[in-house]
Symmetry: C2
Subunit: 196 residues, 2 copies
């Protein structure tokens, strides 16, 4: 195989979820059928690496000092929602039910992978939540073991500073049939049952 | 989402097998954890697009006028093996059983996708096979419907010019147990049975 092709295949393997066979298939596809696409991807990578950094307020990716969401005057400044990733933030935005602001951890606590409080920017979150305007922090980390541990850690940290902290509700998913929902979720939904 | 990020996500979707969620995950991963990788991939794409073209003889990808395999003096010039892709050629090379040369179609006949004889460079193959040195053409296209149809078409075309044409043997795979091999393969193996 030619040197440029080997280098390209090796570089494509840096993408998450791409193994040797996929990388080879991608390289051949781009060179045979989509050289414009290859050129576009090259420029997009270069541009993103140079232009994108973290929002000074919410820590998400942005090209500006402060991201669009944080600088939007119409958002409610008293609510701060903590999510693990920009993708999680996008999902919450799509529900159109939340009008407050965000803080993006860019990860979760995971001692086994060596990811501690410093790696998820908890100092920055603390400063952000203590701006005097925020009255409630909504924890929207994932409901995995690591996400739950992260929520617990942040909750303790913020409550010690006198902030009000809440967590997304757990329960049976919309459209869920009890027969097919796991017992842990049903147990949680029973404990958290609400008056109608 | 920032413009550079949107552009990057869109560009990553040009890779085969990458949907919107994967593209987003890849973009976030590169920017958060592997900016060196993003930079490397950008350069690799640029280099490959500019340097890589098709071998004048066998049609595979190369940076030179003629690829390494075709210019290797030790290969047998009387055998020409026809494969669909460079990946197929690599697989045959790995068997260490073939010392002849190759012709890479860069595709297969597929009328439903609008891929006809011109798209798989059959004129170039014809010129290559008629160089006066080649005495046998080995058809090693895939054993799919389209690969078989391609082999049949090429076989007719080359035999009309008086060339000897062969096809890779079909049969029970090495290590195969009859109980788990499909009936079509067993029928073929029975028809092509060999004296021992």
């Amino acid at each position: 195989m030619s040197k440029s092709l080997e280098f390209l295949t090796e570089a494509l393997r840096r993408l998450p979820g791409v193994g040797p066979k996929s990388a080879q298939r991608m390289a051949f596809h781009l060179l045979q059928h989509d050289r414009d696409g290859a050129d576009m991807l090259s420029r997009a990578l270069q541009q993103a690496v140079h232009a994108v950094h973290h929002c000074a307020l919410c820590n998400t990716f942005t090209e500006d000092e402060v991201c669009n969401t944080c600088s939007d005057e119409r958002r409610e400044r008293q609510l701060l929602c903590v999510v693990e990733t920009p993708a999680d933030q996008l999902m919450i935005e799509q529900t159109l039910t939340y009008k407050g602001l965000y803080f993006v951890l860019m990860g979760r606590l995971s001692p086994l992978d060596g990811i501690g409080p410093k790696d998820i920017h908890l100092e920055k979150l603390l400063a952000r939540a203590a701006d005097g305007l925020v009255t409630e922090v909504v924890l929207a980390t994932n409901f995995t073991n690591e996400g739950e541990a992260t929520a617990h850690y942040i909750s303790e940290m913020l409550k010690a500073r006198g902030l009000r902290v809440s967590r997304l509700a757990r329960g049976v998913p919309v459209g869920g049939e009890l027969e097919y929902v796991d017992a842990g979720t049903i147990a949680r939904a029973m404990l958290d049952r609400r008056a109608t």
